[in-house]
């Protein structure tokens, strides 16, 4: 098939339009830089979301053969593979805004506990930046996108002057907070990228709790409405949708010269030329593109003489524990929807006491699914059947609380993404193979995570649903992949500098979760936004000064 290449040389080509790519497009275009964004899908139509479709109507519609918009990429369309015995559940969203269409909106600032962790415990390398470098960018991101939360900050959860008012906790959350307080564990207001007041032209949340189906009014940050649309309005952004990027192309000087992509549906091959390439396709997809970008100068993939790219994949460990609070059993049913997901958060505390621990790093805790839900899945764990079961379900329904701690995973060289010898996708490009296994450190941390969760529930005198101590959610299900193109001070042990710029390829930037040096116990998206803003400020400055291209 004919390769379609355009002679035009774009200033910047951005691969991906999610949190990272959207931020790059927004920040570069408003500084006068012309950008071309390549997105693997197209815009999701808010008017088609099933946000307000009730569970019974959903059944009816499905029975008629209707389907809600499908956010998640089908593995049959674009396979990936994993090492036998180590399944990795990779969730990808191909379309404008990427995973921010359906993300959890948890927006926690990383602290110097994260940036300097390797300095203190010696495991792998520290970040090449510190909190003071990124703090002004956290400020800007929160003001731009709107994050609600409290002023109850801690050393593991830096505070902010820019938060919108936090939503009132639910009864179950208040009681959990009280129970945790009684055993010396601090639970604060959650920090969520949900608008509790109208913000920058976006409407406030109306507390339907149905965010997971996509918000049909755009009341939480998504990169399509909040970044891509304003970027397009500058007139300096072009988007090619349904563009499945395969490789970054390299010229004779060892610099990126452009991008090769395939039309998602027709399979037609295209190349576009660029002075700068910004890779933001999401950790695993970006890494696959970089590793497939082989050339004479970079036989191991662009910018990968260090052999770091693809390695140090981190997810986060997590489990769920459920209980019923005595104060709420058999009580009135409230509307517990709120802003969808927890209104509270337990910051990491295990670095503060004098207890000796047999593991490194730490964990925080979330509390999604507390209160009256639009289902009674907990009922499957209650014994028996008949009137007694029905009565038991009804009694417990308003009293449900859910705890799920998230733990930091150590970066390991053998946890990696590779493309050698993998099958080809429908466009003839090697697919990603994920080799990932958590280690002793995580298993030991998990024991304490279980103990803390159980202690909180015991303090609350909760009826605790049976659980299997030590059991963890399947790898990939926290959907927090990071680390496979990490930044660092030493080019032999990292692929990027603190501005997400490749050490070896000055005109190539990797601005999504792949750039992270450590995983933290906290959710990464706010930090992805801050790093991408900071990286593109630097890039814009370098372009103006003529030091790149």
């Amino acid at each position: 098939m004919q390769v379609q290449s355009s002679p035009e040389v774009h200033d910047v080509v951005i691969i991906g339009s999610g949190a990272a790519g959207g931020m790059a497009a927004w920040n570069l275009s408003r500084q006068g830089v012309n950008v071309l964004v390549l997105d693997a899908g197209r815009k999701f139509q808010r008017s088609k979301f099933w946000t307000h479709v009730k569970p019974w109507d959903r059944q009816y519609r499905l029975g008629l053969g209707q389907r809600p918009p499908e956010f998640q990429l089908d593995i049959h369309e674009q396979p990936y593979t994993w090492r036998k015995g180590d399944y990795f559940d990779l969730i990808r969203v191909w379309g404008r805004g990427g995973k921010t269409n359906i993300w959890g909106r948890v927006s926690l600032r990383y602290s110097d506990l994260d940036f300097t962790s390797a300095e203190r415990d010696g495991w792998e390398i520290p970040w090449p930046i510190r909190y003071k470098d990124i703090a002004p960018y956290y400020d800007r991101v929160e003001q731009l996108i709107g994050v609600c939360g409290g002023d109850d900050d801690q050393d593991s959860l830096p505070g902010s002057k820019y938060l919108l008012p936090p939503p009132a906790p639910r009864c179950g959350e208040r009681l959990l907070q009280k129970a945790a307080h009684n055993i010396g564990v601090s639970v604060v207001a959650g920090r969520r990228a949900v608008l509790t007041k109208p913000h920058n032209g976006h409407p406030a949340c109306h507390y339907c709790g149905s965010c997971g189906k996509g918000c049909d009014v755009g009341a939480f940050f998504n990169a399509s409405d909040y970044l891509m649309e304003p970027a397009l309005a500058t007139g300096r952004v072009k988007v090619v949708d349904n563009a499945v990027v395969a490789r970054v192309l390299v010229d004779g000087r060892g610099l990126a010269s452009g991008v090769q992509f395939f039309d998602r549906h027709t399979g037609a091959e295209h190349t576009v030329r660029a002075r700068v390439v910004v890779v933001a396709a999401s950790c695993i997809d970006s890494t696959r593109i970089l590793l497939n970008s082989k050339s004479h100068q970079f036989p191991n993939g662009i910018g990968n003489s260090s052999d770091v790219i693809g390695r140090y994949l981190c997810e986060q460990i997590r489990f769920h524990m459920y209980g019923f609070l005595p104060e709420l059993m058999g009580g009135p049913v409230q509307n517990d929807d709120g802003i969808g997901g927890a209104h509270i958060y337990m910051p990491r505390f295990n670095h503060r006491d004098s207890r000796k621990r047999d593991y490194l790093r730490g964990y925080g805790m979330q509390f999604w699914g507390t209160g009256a839900q639009d289902n009674a899945n907990f009922a499957k764990q209650l014994p028996g059947f008949g009137v007694d079961l029905k009565t038991a379900i009804k009694k417990r329904y308003p009293a449900l609380v859910a705890l799920h701690p998230y733990g930091e995973t150590l970066p390991r060289a053998e946890n990696r993404v590779r493309v050698e010898g993998t099958p080809l996708d429908r466009y003839g490009i090697p697919i990603a193979r994920i080799e990932y296994k958590i280690g002793e450190n995580e298993h030991k941390m998990a024991q304490e995570m279980y103990a803390t969760a159980e202690d909180i529930l015991r303090s609350a005198k909760a009826e605790i649903l049976p659980f299997q101590r030590g059991s963890l959610d399947v790898a990939g299900s926290a959907i927090h992949e990071h680390g496979t193109c990490r930044m660092g001070a030493d080019p032999k042990r990292s692929a990027l500098n603190g501005f997400c710029q490749m050490h070896e390829v000055k005109n190539t930037f990797v601005v999504d979760g792949a750039a992270f040096t450590t995983a933290s116990e906290k959710n990464p998206t706010l930090t992805i936004l801050a790093l991408a803003w900071r990286a593109t400020d630097y890039l814009a400055g370098e372009l103006r000064a003529g030091r790149i291209a």
Partner: protein
């Protein structure tokens, strides 16, 4: 056009929220909460009749009778609807129709129910008294690691899914009134719950 579209709520942005309230209680709460907003209380139609198929897709008439009995045994009608009232027998039929591994589980499960019924009472399961049916189901439920036990768990989970996603189960039985439009979220207002 599906029933949901007939009562689709129109939203006006920029701080004005059109609220369609499904219960008087919720309407009063919302009016109280939104005194500073112009509120359009639009008349909305009574919810369209819930749609039920007329015949099962997968189960034979005889087997469907057994499914109907089973969902009512697991979640019986009390002062609130039971499994069959909520159409859970159709939910089970629909789900099994789409899943060959479930079909296998049900074929084996029904074979066990039939064999157990004939062995104890020389009749088919559907012809037994409720007490006799409960006893057989109890045998299965108390042996979760056996094939009948696994069939019971599968059936129970399907019944729970079907019932508590129905209006009869989620709204009438449990009292869920979520996924609506609120101008403000009050959360917990009980002083005794505070830290």
């Amino acid at each position: 056009m599906p029933a949901e579209d007939c009562q689709e709520v129109n939203l006006f942005y920029q701080g004005i929220i059109l609220a369609v309230m499904k219960t008087r209680r919720a309407a009063l709460r919302s009016l109280a909460a939104a005194t500073s907003l112009p509120l359009f209380a639009q008349h909305h139609q009574e919810e369209a009749q819930v749609h039920r198929p007329s015949a099962p897709k997968y189960f034979s008439a005889v087997d469907f009778r057994v499914v109907t009995v089973l969902v009512d045994l697991i979640l019986p009608p009390t002062d609130t609807p039971g499994g069959a009232d909520a159409g859970v027998h159709f939910y089970v039929d629909n789900t099994v129709a789409a899943d060959p591994s479930l079909q296998k589980d049900f074929t084996e499960g029904f074979a066990w129910l039939g064999a157990e019924s004939r062995s104890r009472h020389s009749r088919s399961f559907a012809a037994l008294t409720a007490t006799q049916q409960v006893a057989i189901l109890k045998t299965a439920s108390e042996a979760p690691d056996t094939p009948p036990g696994r069939f019971f768990t599968c059936l129970k989970n399907l019944t729970i899914d079907g019932y508590y996603s129905s209006k009869e189960g989620l709204v009438r039985e449990l009292g869920w009134h979520g996924n609506t439009y609120l101008a403000e979220f009050k959360g917990c207002t009980h002083p005794e719950h505070q830290v």
